[in-house]
Point group: C2
Chain length 169, copies 2
DNA sequence: ACTTTCTTTCATTATATTTTGAAAATTCAG
DNA sequence: CTGAATTTTCAAAATATAATGAAAGAAAGT
C-alpha cells in the first residue's frame, strides 16, 4: 500500500469509527484529514479533499475547535483561516473522552440523583428498597467511571500507563 | 415523587442515555422496564407499557438477549414467552462495555494494523515516519483500553474496586 | 463608505435510522 | 394433519440526523 492511499483509508476509517463514538462522519473525517496533514489546511481545502459543502465544513471545523481537537492558525499576510490538529494522540484521546463523559456520564448521574428523592410512605418496603438500591449501584458505577476518567484527564501519558501497570499487577 | 412515577422517569431517562451509548431508545427503554420489574414480562406487556409495535418490541427483546442483558423465562403451562433482566448492575455494565468494545475498539485496531503495512520506498522518510508513529500511538492507546476492559470483564466487582483504589493511590 | 474576501447561519433537501404492521413462519395441542 | 396461538420477518412509512447552498454577516483594504 502506498502512503497516500493509506492516509486516505485512514480518513475513511476514522470517519466510520467516529460514528460509533457520537461524532459525526464528516467531523471525524475532517479531524483525520488534519491529523495526517503536516501543514495547516483551509476550509476550501477541506471542502475539496473531502467533497463536502462549505456549510458542513465550517460547522464541523467549529465543532472540532469546541472539542479542543484542532485550532485556528493565521498565516501572516493572509485573511483566510487555516486549521491544524493536535497531533499528540494521548491528548486527543483525553479530549474525546472528556467530551463523551459530558454527554454520557454527567447527565445520567444527575438524573439518577434526582430520582432517589422518592417520598412515598405508602409504598411497599421491598419494592422501594430494590429500586433505590439499583439507583445506588448505578451511581456507584458511574462514580468509578468518573474517577477513572478524571485520573486520565489530569495525568500525563507516562503517569497513566504506570498506574495502569500497578493496577494490572 | 412517587415510586411509580420515579420508575417511569427512570425508563425515559435510560432510553435517552442509551442513545448516547449506541443503544437505540426503545431497546434501552425495554431494558429499563425489565430492570424495574420484579416479575418477568411478556412481549404484549412491553408493547402496552411502552406503546410500541410488536415488531419493534420483538426485535429489541431479541437484541437485548444477544447482549446478554435479559433472558427468556418460561411459565409452566403457558406458551407465551416472558423476559427478565439481569439485575446486578455490575454485570449489566460489564456486558454493555463488552458489546461496545466489540463495535468501537476491535474494528479500529484491526484497521490501524492493516494500515501500518505501507510498502512505498519512494516516500519521504519524515512524512512516512510521522504517519506510522501516529498509527502506533493509536494502537497503543487502544491496547490500554482493551486491557482495562478485559480486567473489568473478567474480574468481579469487589476485585475491580480494590484494583481501582490501588491505581488511584 | 464601498468593495472584496471570507465566514457563519439556517431553511430546505437528502440521508440514515427506527418503527410499524401485516404476512409468513413456527410451535404446540388435539 | 389442522387450526389456534405466538413469534419473526421485512417492505414501507415515519422520524431523526446530517448536508447543502444561497443569503446574510464580518472583517479588512482602498
Amino acid at each position: 500500500m502506498k502512503l497516500e492511499q493509506a492516509k486516505q483509508e485512514f480518513i475513511d476509517a476514522w470517519g466510520t469509527f467516529g460514528s460509533h463514538w457520537g461524532i459525526n462522519r464528516t467531523m471525524a473525517q475532517i479531524h483525520a484529514l488534519l491529523l495526517v496533514s503536516d501543514e495547516p489546511i483551509s476550509t476550501d481545502e477541506v471542502m475539496e479533499k473531502l467533497g463536502v459543502s462549505r456549510g458542513n465544513a465550517n460547522m464541523n471545523l467549529r465543532a472540532l475547535i469546541d472539542w479542543n481537537l484542532i485550532e485556528r492558525k493565521l498565516k501572516k499576510g493572509e485573511r483566510m483561516e487555516y486549521f491544524s490538529a493536535e497531533k499528540d494522540i494521548w491528548k486527543v484521546a483525553v479530549r474525546i473522552i472528556r467530551e463523551r463523559r459530558k454527554k454520557e456520564i454527567d447527565p445520567m448521574r444527575q438524573t439518577i440523583k434526582s430520582l432517589m428523592d422518592i417520598d412515598d410512605k405508602n409504598e411497599k418496603k421491598d419494592e422501594y428498597k430494590q429500586f433505590i438500591n439499583m439507583l445506588k449501584d448505578i451511581d456507584e458505577f458511574a462514580n468509578a467511571a468518573d474517577k477513572i476518567t478524571d485520573k486520565l484527564v489530569l495525568s500525563d501519558k507516562g503517569w497513566f500507563f504506570i498506574s495502569l501497570m500497578k493496577m494490572m499487577s
